[in-house]
Symmetry: C2
DNA sequence: GTCCATGCAAACCTTTTGCACTATA
DNA sequence: TATAGTGCAAAAGGTTTGCATGGAC
């Protein structure tokens, strides 16, 4: 199983956040938080709904969306959009707190990695553009090792010679 | 005016792409391409429709979407999603061919900049993860110089002390 | 007892699609 | 003249909202 680490501390943190905000701690909110914290994947709303159902919880999509909004506000969960037409959610505070994503264009797999170089980039834009960075997003799209080994290729469909423009 | 550079060469490239694909070059397709190539901004579909109307062209949204798809396929235009709930489109091949984006959380302004560090990142993931990079996306969200000067601040709404989890 | 959450369904918004008609090559 | 494009409206798909009911504190 993926649940090597107990999700309890995270649930407790979420409860604390709710109390700080003067909001009730409900069974639904805890159940949704448990599912998200217990997974090491980047879950879609449909996947969350399915896992809740597998646990025996029937919770409406509206509640899931509303609770995810709270989880994101609390900074315990991060929202991602990998261009699939829907969002995915990932708990933070578990393993590497800041990480980037590799997304395979063939199988859709998401690999996490760290890019320390981004710190230098953020420092530079602050000096050069007077821009104060708050958060960032780096995604590299391409082919994962397995898909490459299986012979997958990146289709090029653009102009035959797109460079001779100037 | 922003149209310092003629858009003609780009229109011609798009025509060439269409011919390569055996597709007709229509007035609508040229008009849409002209609007996108003539702008230095990241346009939404609504903005494109408005600019077409300003020129005297009444073109349906469906055609705009279909043509943008062709422009993206031809690699002359890039599609972006800055998390606003809709997409934006930007012509390539004009100024800096590869650039990243700074997005101001206060005013929504988009600033382009270059991050040479990404090349090293892509080289590393290839070695470490066996991942073949095709394209990437780096966006830094924060406050632009003007909004900072105007006193804008980043609201922190998360847990009061989110770090004591382990 | 007061407030807020929940669930359902309807609404919303962007994007896609079906189809009759029109234009390109 | 054949093939593909256009416009309109309807559909699709993910997300949000209104409202009556139910639960937290």
């Amino acid at each position: 199983m993926t649940e090597t680490v107990s999700v309890r501390p995270f649930i407790r943190l979420f409860g604390r956040y709710l109390r700080e905000q003067g909001l009730p701690v409900t069974h639904q909110r805890e159940a949704i938080a448990e599912v998200v914290f217990a997974s090491e994947e980047h879950l879609s709303v449909d996947e969350i709904e399915q896992r809740l159902r597998d646990r025996g919880d029937r919770i409406g999509k509206a509640t899931i969306y509303r609770t995810l909004d709270l989880l994101v506000r609390s900074r315990l969960v991060e929202e991602h959009d990998f261009g699939e037409g829907f969002k995915r959610y990932e708990h933070r505070l578990s393993r590497q707190p800041v990480h980037e994503h590799l997304i395979c264009l063939e199988c859709g797999k998401v690999i996490e990695f760290q890019a320390g170089e981004i710190a230098a980039v953020e420092a530079r834009v602050q000096v050069v553009h007077g821009f104060l960075p708050a958060r960032h997003r780096l995604e590299v799209y391409g082919l994962c090792r397995e898909c490459r080994a299986a012979g997958a290729e990146l289709p090029y469909q653009g102009l035959t010679c797109p460079i001779d423009t100037v």
